[in-house]
């Protein structure tokens, strides 16, 4: 997260530039063509199709903003938005507080710290679909004792997903916090000690301000992860249970990404609306990501 690397002027060496440029077809072209196929073209076409009625891109007919109107009138979409927002707030707080606490404890002198770190990180390596399946089995087994099941109630599904995601991501964020904590200069901590700061004072006045870059990264990652969450949502509850709201079926535990996906799968009359939702979703994620970056960057300590 060093600020420099972004706007750093690229080094231009006379000895290197021209000869490398001659090899443009080898160095750039393959990647750029794939990037064109895998990102740029689908992205532009996606924006265009959000203004169209279509089954496939070939039969697209321009309809203006009506897909967007349809998307915003969809109770399921609005519900998914609030659901995602609530889920993001809860999981950002939970994951970052716990991950920081664990990282803080593990960077103190402690026996077995490496082993603990290994265990906490492990769930990250397992894919979202498999995680969702594992946890749905566990939640169902617990709820069975109360003669109910996971998809019976949207509250269970919501908190179930929070627990799943916390279990998965705490280890990842912990690694980043550990790296941040270890980068604090030792003499700074010593100086605090000599000046008579107690444990809490050191934590809040020295440690936390110094790990602000890690906090920026972790809140950014947990924010975007929770907004983009799909696999876990699909595998854990798949949006169930659903309820009729104002004449439309609303999947109560659906987050935005899953809502877009299931909208597309209703039938071809909904393809355009699904793509319009995707554009709104993209704008939302982009605005949040940029806002978060500018907000927390200001708090970082210059070293």
């Amino acid at each position: 997260m060093r600020k420099k690397s972004h706007d750093d002027t690229t080094v231009n060496s006379v000895l290197l530039r021209r000869p490398i440029q001659r090899w443009f077809p080898l160095f750039i072209l393959p990647t750029f063509l794939c990037f064109l196929i895998g990102f740029i073209w689908p992205f532009l076409q996606g924006i265009y199709l959000s203004f169209c009625n279509f089954n496939t891109p070939k039969d697209a007919q321009w309809v203006g903003f009506s897909n967007y109107v349809k998307a915003f009138k969809d109770a399921g979409f609005i519900h998914a938005f609030w659901n995602t927002a609530a889920f993001a707030v809860v999981s950002i707080l939970l994951i970052n507080v716990v991950a920081f606490a664990i990282a803080y404890a593990l960077t103190q002198k402690m026996r077995g710290a490496n082993l603990f770190r290994t265990v906490f990180f492990m769930p990250n390596l397992i894919g979202g679909v498999v995680l969702g399946y594992i946890w749905s089995m566990i939640f169902d087994a617990i709820l069975r004792n109360y003669s109910t099941y996971l998809t019976a109630n949207a509250t269970y599904g919501f908190w179930g997903l929070v627990i799943l995601v916390a279990w998965q991501q705490i280890g990842y964020m912990m690694i980043i916090y550990i790296a941040g904590l270890q980068a604090i200069p030792g003499d700074m901590m010593e100086a605090a000690k000599i000046d008579g700061a107690n444990g809490w004072q050191t934590l809040f006045k020295v440690t936390i301000p110094n790990v602000m870059p890690s906090i920026t990264i972790c809140t950014f990652l947990t924010l975007t992860n929770s907004f983009k969450l799909f696999d876990q949502n699909l595998a854990l509850t798949g949006g169930a249970p659903s309820v009729m709201m104002a004449g439309t079926k609303v999947n109560m535990t659906e987050l935005l990404a899953l809502n877009i996906y299931s909208t597309y799968n209703i039938n071809k009359n909904w393809h355009g609306a699904a793509q319009a939702k995707a554009v709104v979703f993209f704008l939302l994620v982009a605005v949040l990501a940029i806002a978060q970056q500018t907000a927390t960057r200001k708090k970082e300590v210059q070293q």
Partner: protein, 281 residues
């Protein structure tokens, strides 16, 4: 440096031992249930298998062909797609990143900006259109889908490589140029070896992504012929989930075991790679 641990630290250690045990319960659950009958999993998933419910490796035998799709086939496709995609990404994006970092042209800046931009675009934005495009270009097989991965995954990789290349001293490459080394040889013999730490970080991040990715291969691949492990697991849940939980747990266990083995052997690299990747991102 005191080597003795304080009482507080001992209590903390005990607390963490307990926390770690709680942490691995889900995996442990899958393990014990993979040895139980379907009924036993349904009735009480937390019970240890007893003489009545223990079925040995029956679930694993069943799991190998569960859902009329051989597990080994899904494993093979997952391996193929992951290995080819990650190699493609590492090779081509490091080349492009070197070009971007050393050639300060308008195109370089434009491409780099697009890479940064692509990192905040959620997959849902492009999923429908990418599926159509991949279909038309016949990228819907395990042998060609790596092209899609290179395209969609280029952003993060290029970003990380460019950051690293900018920190490399120019003098080494200039010396190579003076000694008559062309750009291709300079890159492969001089630059690429220096990129090793970033190659490991990017490699690990991309492997974790491609191996576990569900939606992209689900949408792009021809599902009647090709399934990866996440697709198979979701397929079992969708259509076979209530049929045999014990066998499904065995399939999940089979899909986790390779990951855990790799993790045990490379955990230092994986943890370092993740930390390095995040600090750059």
């Amino acid at each position: 440096m005191k080597t003795r641990y304080s009482t507080a630290s001992k209590i903390l250690t005990i607390f963490f031992v307990i926390l770690c045990l709680i942490w691995i319960i889900p995996i442990f659950e899958v393990l014990i249930n993979s040895f139980k009958t379907n009924n036993a999993v349904n009735m009480d998933a937390f019970a240890l298998p007893n003489s009545e419910t223990f079925v040995g490796f029956d679930n694993y035998v069943k799991g190998m062909t569960f859902g009329n799709y051989p597990f080994v086939k899904a494993l093979g496709y997952s391996l193929l797609i992951t290995v080819v995609s990650v190699i493609l990404i590492l090779l081509f994006t490091s080349m492009s990143a070197w070009y971007i970092a050393r050639v300060n042209s308008k195109f370089s800046k434009f491409f780099y900006f697009l890479c940064l931009f692509s990192m905040i675009v959620p997959f849902q934005m492009v999923m429908f259109t990418l599926t159509f495009t991949a279909d038309q270009l016949k990228l819907n097989t395990p042998w060609t889908i790596p092209v899609v991965y290179l395209g969609f995954g280029a952003g993060l990789a290029i970003f990380m490589f460019v950051g690293f290349v900018k920190g490399l001293p120019l003098e080494i490459e200039e010396a190579a140029a003076i000694d008559g080394c062309g750009p291709v040889r300079t890159f492969f013999l001089v630059v690429l070896p220096m990129l090793k730490p970033t190659l490991i970080s990017v490699g690990i991040l991309e492997t974790m992504w491609v191996w576990n990715d569900y939606l992209l291969p689900y949408l792009v691949l021809d599902r009647t012929k090709y399934m990866t492990i996440p697709i198979l697991v979701q397929y079992l849940k969708g259509s076979y989930g209530t049929v045999d939980l014990g066998a499904t747990m065995a399939v999940i266990m089979l899909s986790i075991i390779p990951i855990i083995i790799v993790y045990i052997f490379c955990q230092k690299h994986i943890i370092k790679g993740v930390a390095a990747g995040a600090v750059k991102g």
